[in-house]
């Protein structure tokens, strides 16, 4: 089991993600104003969610292909379990160490963390394994740069929506479920 964790890079990747989310949780009242006149307020935990989710999505990405060909057990399922385990540990720790603010910035950050992790899973399924960052980064950066016209937030920019936006929560949930299915199915897995 420990060897498996070592091969998948679980400990370093999950630890760095945890540190990022904790930093976001510690400074959750800090909001960043996106200039110029297309005004958008993005809380720090939302920014921390991107690198944290990408790193969790990378768990198991760097393992040699020969492992997938020769392993007796289903490695995709194990990879999913490892990523889910990291996600749960990170979310629980963040909720334990930080008080939830009335603004709900940490909730928005954790919502985005789950959604972006799902997108990383989808990216891994449709692109080379090392491109897990592509979809999460593209959607995040696009949402920050052009997700609002100053009056309303575009439907696709759920990452920068307020924490009480039910549609954003649903979008993150759907992304996470699809991502989990993609990680478990792993269409890029070499045939035995």
């Amino acid at each position: 089991m420990l060897l498996r964790f070592k091969v998948s890079g679980f400990l370093p990747l999950a630890s760095i993600s945890l540190v990022l989310i904790i930093i976001g949780a510690a400074f959750q009242t800090l909001t960043i104003v996106i200039p110029p006149s297309r005004v958008l307020l993005v809380p720090l935990p939302v920014f921390a969610a991107l690198p944290a989710a990408v790193l969790v999505g990378y768990i198991g990405a760097n393992e040699p292909k020969i492992l997938a060909r020769t392993a007796v057990r289903n490695l995709s399922l194990r990879r999913l379990l490892e990523q889910c385990l990291a996600t749960v540990i990170i979310i629980c720790t963040a909720l334990l160490v930080a008080n939830l603010q009335p603004q709900g910035n940490l909730i928005a950050g954790l919502r985005d963390f789950i959604g972006l992790w799902g997108l990383a899973g989808v990216a891994r399924a449709i692109m080379p394994a090392k491109s897990a960052w592509f979809l999460p980064f593209a959607l995040f950066a696009t949402s920050v740069v052009a997700g609002t016209n100053g009056q309303s937030i575009a439907w696709w920019a759920w990452l920068v929506a307020p924490n009480d936006n039910q549609s954003a929560l649903a979008a993150a949930g759907i992304a996470a479920v699809i991502g989990a299915i993609a990680v478990a199915a792993d269409p890029t897995r070499p045939k035995h």
């Binding site: 960043i32 200039p35 990378y58 090392k130 897990a132 960052w133 980064f137 593209a138 740069v145 016209n149």
Partner: protein, 434 residues
């Protein structure tokens, strides 16, 4: 990595992973650019901005692919082969760098051309700001160069992701944490939203181009630094890059102006004949619609001291005051709901002290004025704007005042407005005044 012995440089360029990214990233940029067009008011400045601003997202993406290319090159086996190549290490590094840069520029050229061409049928006002496109190209090159350096020195599977995320955040930090004069212009992600009232400060765009080119060349020099390239080549490249970057930095930081030249020059107002609504030439085609939108408010303020002989479109903020005797209004685009927003903003400005509206409240000090967004003033603003939902009285007394005001006839309301102008402007209005 297999190297074509006949023409290794061309082989490296053609093998670049960036070639797969050209189309998807151009499509993403087209999507981003479409969000930035201001509906109903086509201008070439806005079209140029829509072509340039996607660099904030697509620059780090392209840099990530450049980092990915460079990670291959950074592996020992590939480097040994490169060192043995006919042209030496310097040419090899330059080929990888040039490959990434070429595909990135191709992607930018593709999306910028498509976005600009898509506007031709709308007959936009003004001209394309070519220096803006040049400085954007240089900004893209600087990011690609930074990505390649990261991939070369840290050839791991994480390098592309780190390149994208770190560059995005660095660009953002340069904009968000100002330490120097004009510092935002040093960021590859900075893109000023169009303001048709002002002309763009073209020299500062050329200075930006110089700064970004310098950064790109410094990236190449850093990559060369770790290879067995001739020392003279390394020093020459580093000196060229440093000089260009330092010169660009000095020009940007010491420039007294910013992105815009804040003068109202180069254009004259275009006015409608009957209502005397005067706009910037970029809004000329929208005059009938603006006429139609403002008609209810102008009818309400008729026969009051809030009316004027001329209504001028002005920019918000600096130099936003109308000419003497005119009332100012603001309009950015004809996006959904613009007519109501236009009326509401004009009404609130008219009732707010020191708002530079040109109305009677303009001369009153507005420091202590809470504005007309809520409270008693919002009742009047909602009437003037024909937007009843914008009336937000606080408490039972103000709700009573609203119901009394609602029962007045149009002429009585106009008389009331005339009689209470001073109380409105000095924010001394109370519920009993209604």
């Amino acid at each position: 990595m297999k190297i074509d012995k006949r023409n290794p440089a061309l082989a490296i360029i053609l093998r670049s992973r960036l070639r797969f990214a050209v189309l998807p990233i151009a499509l993403l940029a087209l999507f981003l650019g479409q969000q930035l067009f201001d509906p109903g008011i086509p201008t070439w400045v806005n079209a140029t901005q829509a072509a340039v601003q996607p660099i904030a997202v697509c620059g780090p993406l392209l840099a990530a692919f450049a980092a990915w290319d460079a990670t291959d090159f950074g592996r020992v086996a590939a480097r040994k082969r490169m060192r043995l190549s006919r042209n030496g290490g310097a040419a090899a590094i330059a080929s990888v760098w040039l490959g990434s840069a070429s595909w990135a520029v191709l992607s930018f050229a593709l999306w910028a051309t498509l976005l600009l061409v898509s506007q031709v049928n709308n007959q936009p006002w003004g001209t394309i700001t070519w220096p803006w496109l040049v400085s954007a190209t240089c900004a893209l090159l600087a990011q690609v160069s930074a990505g390649a350096v990261l991939g070369y020195f840290w050839p791991t599977f994480l390098a592309p992701a780190v390149a994208a995320v770190v560059l995005f955040f660095i660009n953002g930090a340069v904009v968000l944490i100002p330490l120097l004069h004009n510092q935002t212009l040093l960021s590859a992600a900075f893109s000023q939203v169009q303001q048709v009232a002002f002309t763009i400060n073209l020299p500062i765009l050329w200075a930006q181009a110089l700064w970004f080119t310098g950064i790109a060349i410094i990236g190449l020099a850093i990559a060369l630094g770790s290879l067995s390239a001739p020392t003279k080549t390394k020093i020459n490249v580093l000196l060229t890059g440093t000089t260009a970057a330092a010169a660009g930095l000095a020009l940007i930081v010491t420039s007294p102006g910013g992105f815009f030249e804040y003068t109202h020059s180069g254009w004259d107002y275009v006015c409608s004949k009957i209502t005397k609504i005067c706009v910037h030439p970029a809004l000329e085609k929208a005059i009938p619609q603006i006429d139609d939108a403002l008609e209810p408010t102008l009818a309400h303020i008729e026969r009051t001291n809030f009316s004027a002989s001329r209504y001028e479109w002005t920019n918000r903020g600096l130099l936003g005051e109308p000419s003497s005797g005119a009332i100012a209004f603001h309009l950015d685009s004809l996006s959904p709901g613009w007519k109501r927003n236009l009326r509401l903003e004009l009404s609130r400005d008219l009732l707010t002290a020191g708002s530079s509206s040109g109305g009677p409240c303009d001369k009153v000090n507005g420091d202590a004025d809470p504005g007309a967004f809520a409270g008693l003033k919002s009742i009047i603003a909602a009437w003037l704007a024909d937007a009843p939902e914008a009336a937000l009285p606080n408490g039972a007394q103000e709700i009573g005042a609203k119901s009394r005001f609602d029962k007045l006839s149009e002429i009585d309301r106009q008389s009331w407005l005339f009689a209470h102008t001073n109380a409105i402007c000095t924010s001394t209005l109370n519920s009993d005044d209604f």
